[in-house]
Subunit: 272 residues, 2 copies
């Protein structure tokens, strides 16, 4: 079967439409798609040209056009040519409008305006990279969250995912017989999250890693007994720290991050 | 004015609804919101409880519930109690269904399933952190993209943003009178992006940095002449590399990333 052509048309970057599309497409496991993105589509000429291309390949159109004149143009074109379209933004704007009785701006790209929240997010991303992997324990006291866990518990991607929600996150790998930096004991336990995993999954991941490095998968690193020692060591530290502990086995980064923010009562996303 | 209470109700993490909500809210510059997220809402009992809370504060509800029985329940409740709600997912699923004549799964969290695309994304994030700031030029040849630019051109956050779209991105700061690593000249110019900025903006950013560090903002680092030398040096390198050059002045990370992927013809997001 040919992949289904999908056009993303946005007067900004198209991120909102892409996020919705990814979630929607995942509900059709046998569907293969060919996605083409048309960002910064903010004029009628540019839009008309894209719509003609869409009509040629009979594409499904996901659009986020805050200028109503453009989205109306698009919807009318699709009705006329029997194309399927989905407006991923204006109905959301209208829901808010209906409640607060105010008119929306209709200005593209406002969500990416270079305000304080934006710069805080950039700073949080740089913080996560700087204080990744226990490199600088001095950063723990400035952190909103410190993630501690054995190897392969997603510390780095989790730190960056949370940084995208404006949290300053440092992380520390736990290695048996290695001294825990003094700075960790000075952190408020409510700001620490212990990450653990199932021994079986850790063994699989590590064996794959060994193979990727051209090494014998039956080495110490993947050895089941050694993994148990590491997890026991981590659990002892978590108990001493009296921190939230999350088992990341079979959880995605998104799920683990959502568990962390909801269990610690942190507001997940900045709005201003 | 009291902030508008908004409830995010999802049977998964709620990321899709949050993304749409942020974009929608940005169209109302005077609106202040109080967002509460209810992730992993996958049972009728849990939903009923949340809806009662929503009714008490007259919240606007943004929801992404792939189980139709739940979203129908929610919509009926809102009609009965005159609450404003926005379904951020099922109309998108229905658009695809209308085109391909297949039934959706109605299984929560499939978008975060631990498939190859997911693990590639995690690997890309770890790659970006490992090869940040020119730490290991040996990684350039494995990279999908190498970002080069003077200080304060958003190299790190851009690398991570693109990593989230599964691109393996390394970055290298350009410092005058410092040798460019040999590895850079071996990279396909189509995989290199030169980042530059306006001298005026660089001066402002650097002066702020000096103040934050408790130093005199009139130091060399923020000196206008020195900034021009750095930008000239960078431009010479870009010309020699024959690479795409983007001026990040007044652009958000999202905008710059979108420009890079569209100008280089890279498919922005993985779908499987």
């Amino acid at each position: 079967m040919h992949p289904l052509p999908i056009f993303i048309i946005s007067d900004s970057s198209g991120e909102t439409a892409i996020t919705t599309l990814q979630t929607a497409v995942s509900q059709f496991p046998d569907l293969s798609v060919q996605v083409t993105r048309f960002p910064f589509t903010a004029t009628k000429n540019k839009l008309t040209n894209i719509l003609q291309q869409a009509n040629e390949v009979h594409a499904v159109i996901f659009h986020t056009l805050v200028q109503r004149a453009l989205s109306t143009e698009l919807i009318n074109f699709c009705q006329k040519h029997q194309l399927v379209q989905y407006d991923g933004l204006n109905p959301a704007i209208d829901a808010i409008k209906q409640r607060i009785h105010q008119e929306p701006l209709q200005t593209p790209g406002v969500n990416h305006s270079l305000n304080d929240t934006y710069f805080d997010r950039i700073a949080a991303i740089e913080f996560a990279v700087t204080y990744d992997d226990g490199k600088l324990p001095a950063g723990f006291k400035q952190a909103d969250l410190v993630l501690v866990g054995v190897s392969r518990t997603s510390k780095t991607p989790l730190s960056l995912f949370l940084a995208n929600q404006n949290f300053k996150v440092a992380n520390l790998p736990l290695v048996p017989n290695t001294k825990i930096p003094d700075e960790l004991w000075q952190v408020d336990p409510k700001k620490i999250v212990g990450l653990t995993n199932s021994p079986k999954i850790l063994e699989q991941i590590r064996a794959q890693r060994m193979i990727a490095y051209g090494m014998d998968p039956a080495s110490n690193y993947s050895n089941q007994e050694k993994i148990h020692q590491e997890l026991d060591f981590a659990n002892q530290i978590f108990t001493k720290l009296n921190c939230l502990v999350i088992n990341v086995a079979n959880k995605s980064i998104e799920e683990t991050a959502t568990l962390i923010t909801s269990k610690l009562g942190l507001e997940p996303a900045p709005f201003d």
